[in-house]
Amino acid sequence: MGQTTVVDVNNLSRSFHGKRALDGVSFSATAGHVHGLVGANGAGKTTLLKHLLGLLRAATGSVRVFGLDPVRDPVRVLGRVGYLSEERELPEWMRVDELMAYTQAFHPTWDETYARQMLESFALDPSKKIRELSKGMRAQAGLIAAVAHRPELLILDEPSSGLDVAVRRDILDAIVRTVADDGRTVIFSSHLLDEVERMSDHVTMMDYGRVTLSGVLDDVRRGYQRSHVRFVEHFDQPPVLATALAMEGGGRSWIVVHSGSIEQFHHSVLALGGEVVESRDATLEEIFLARTGRNRQQVEAA
């Protein structure tokens, strides 16, 4: 897989009605990889993705997709991008086959056989109006329209929200197929962290409009440990441990998510009269909750 940069966002900031939606966000996506974007509601994921499509103008900073500015050059950028939005804003009156034909007209790379295959496997009736489709079927129709022209960049904004398991699998399938075909890139945002964990090569975590974490998924996860700690004495409040980010549990037994020097952590556990029972790499969900959740504690100065 090449290392060409498909998307390059540099120090992007954007406010809405005085509220900071994005604050100095820098993000880049390399070709042939799946990039996952995670964050709480309102963290700025959708805002960032909208900037990539030119739906929002960069107030400060720059946005480049395929080296072009999506606001200045909508035709050349959007012609190579497939987009599935969270709200699935498809015209209600259009029929499924009309949607396919309409999208086909804009993308010369449309693969009719692939589109038909997907229509059949999703069992979508082409003569039905969008209005008559259920939420899951709308997502499927939107997915076909986004993927059938084999875009170089596929942008999915909360693709699985509100969908049942079967449709979610279809979406994951589409992501895999897109990346497995050489050189194509996927950027998707999701609340479902297990999905992001399976599907992402790179993960970016956002909080309050800032990027808090970014990197190759396995490297990121290796930086965080989850340990089960047992103490001799009873603690009413979470004990203060070095490099710990979040703690759960009570009394003598605590689950700690920590990042940084493992020796330091072990030393501080021993110092408080406890022992580390077991330890493993933290899952993405645990990292996410540790960084944004309520069980956070201040990291002690080393």
Binding site: G32, R169, V176, V179, D194, R198, M199
Partner: protein, 138 residues
């Protein structure tokens, strides 16, 4: 190929795949010379990003479990008895470590464990004699 991915253990997905392939090879469920599923197919089956499969196959190749044939795919390497033996030992040793840890928690000594092992083995042998022999897995 029967592989399952577990996201709650915290073990990286590629590592899980590597481990399971090694287990399948070691237990004879994957025969030498057999082809592993193509990257795309396995990625679709497991619903993981293809790069993970690429990484897993890459690590399997480095450790010599599989080898890539130019353009054709990935195949299980010829059986090397030491590797299988090493793998098998490692798997059992893991189980024994787990058993010992749990025994310690439940306040059983090492001698207790050995005694119980012998008892359970005797019971199992008795049962096996009473019933018709199982079909040996090929």
């Amino acid at each position: 190929m029967d592989i399952t991915i577990n996201l709650t253990d915290g073990v990286p997905i590629y590592r899980q795949i590597v481990n399971q392939v090694k287990y399948l090879v070691a237990s004879g469920l994957l025969l030498p010379g057999e082809e592993l599923p193509p990257i795309r197919t396995l990625a679709l089956q497991l619903k993981v990003t293809p790069n993970t499969i690429v990484k897993a196959y890459g690590e399997l190749e480095i450790s010599g479990v599989v080898h890539k044939r130019q353009g054709s795919g990935t195949f299980v390497s010829e059986v090397r008895q030491q590797l299988a033996l090493r793998e098998r030992r490692r798997i059992i040793e893991q189980r024994i470590d787990g058993l010992l840890a749990e025994a310690h928690q439940l306040n059983f000594s090492g001698d207790d464990i050995l005694r119980m092992l012998r008892e359970r083995k005797a019971a199992m042998d008795a049962e096996a004699d009473a019933e018709p022999a199982e079909v040996k897995k090929k």
